[in-house]
Amino acid sequence: MAETHSLQDLQQPAVSSKVFVQRDYSSGTICRFQTKFPSELESRLDKQQFEETIQALNNLYAEAEKLGGKSYLEGCLACLTAYTIFLCMETHYEKVLKKIARYIKDQNEKIYAPRGLLLTDPIERGLRVVEVTIFEDRSIGSGR
């Protein structure tokens, strides 16, 4: 593993720190993240940009968990087919999660990576936090 690690070290900039954006439970158990701008990112990112990203994520999660005719229909249909329908069909939630993954990838490419930051998809952290990795500001590719 040491050889892999040294290769990783060569190819990627070192991680300086990580910031965790916690969940916002003020409206119950639905998935929402706090839009408060962390102070560690002040030097790297616009406050507004960050808030827009988090708000967009919150909206997407709200769409995934939305209660309405469509979700009830899906639930009832699933119950009637003894939930075998999910063997061939994706749930609405899973579809939105894919959308969220695409959105985060897009944001990383366009906004966060050029600033030396990386957003981690919350689903990889159990929907508990949005992890923002801050990379050191130094040139990559030193050494072999």
Partner: protein, 463 residues
Amino acid sequence: MKNCEYQQIDPRALSVSPLSVQTHTEKKEHRPRRKWEVFPGKNRFFCDGRIIIARQSGVLPLTLGLIVVTCGLFFAFDCPFLVEHLTIFIPLIGGVLFVFVVTSLLRTSFTDPGILPRATPDEAADIERQIDTSGSSTYRPPPRTKEILINQQVVKLKYCFTCKMFRPPRTSHCSLCDNCVERFDHHCPWVGNCVGKRNYRYFYSFIISLSFLTSFIFGCVITHITLRSQATKGLVQAIQESPASVVELVICFFSIWSILGLSGFHTYLVASNLTTNEDIKGSWSSKRGADDSGNPYSYNSIITNCCVTLCGPMPPSLIDRRGFVPPDEAIPAASASEIELPPFTTKNDANMCTQSTKDVLERMIHSSSEFNGLCPPGTPKTTPLVLEVSSVAAPTAEPSPPAGCSHQHPRRPALCPPFDRSNKSDALHSINPAFRLASPSPSLSRSTLILGDAPDIGFNQLH
């Protein structure tokens, strides 16, 4: 976090000569491990992570056995008579109900109930930092709770010492499974799994369909015996001709009370958007009258509550059992444990290694070991099982399926132990730091540093 000394290693030299210490890591490179293999909780996995079940499957085989045996006897002995004298629909309805019951039961048992993955070391360190900065640095602050406002109601979030995070609202740590479970209802021994956010609807459909099934079989058997005794002009003769019916009658008679009671109880819970855990603890009962109900999660409409709980969107499994462990996350776990340990070939080894590391660190913090064995809450965890078994075995000679669950009406203590134990273990955890005024916080920060430094130590030994 990771040391720069690694750059001095010549990759070519290492790739040529595989060191014995590296064999286990190279094995990982050749065979990427799935996350279920390194899962820290007490669960068992089958079909390469597709099926999850609690380690103590409780009396699930008994539940399945009772259902299959009763229905088998019904189809074999009662149905021929009833088809002849009444209608063909009787076995058809019975068959449909049987299929519903078994699929719901298996779904409840084999579905991830909403387990929350444990916090990564970075997250845990971040939370520790936030807690430490809010209090004095010379002693560990008292039991860790965080108060938040949910729908204008104050809710306390507790810190879970095992999972190293603040538990989201309605989440509870199951000591039998050693996991935090979202919207934790209870740990059902009859089903052999926790009942939580993701499998509550399956559990509910299981008990409802089981109520219908037992009532249906009970009614049919009574009809059968009545018709037969009319035909043979004697009840005793009828029973002698069909002894299986008596067996079914006895099983159904004892089951019906408990299952109907349980169904009624859970229907009430669904309608008021409560969990068994909250109802037993009386979390919202004292506040009744302040709002429409003290429960901040209720939608104040029975229909909405039912729809949300039973037909709401299906949340995904957060533990990603079949995902692959990323190599850089595997390293800290591997090297944090001693290098002398054998390669990780089984899930148990990996589990024990990471668990033992964490426990060694925790034991360093809690210097007076009230907890024996590998897992800190080891002692409290074993007793609930004993209590469950005794409460199950004691009541009736023919144990009715969810007797343990249903007896929470007259005998609430039977189900309380799991909750109380988890609370007690948390309370014990939280009490300990307060008592250790001498060296709590520094040792904790040291422990997090050790977690961070371990990879360096491990890698230094590789040189």
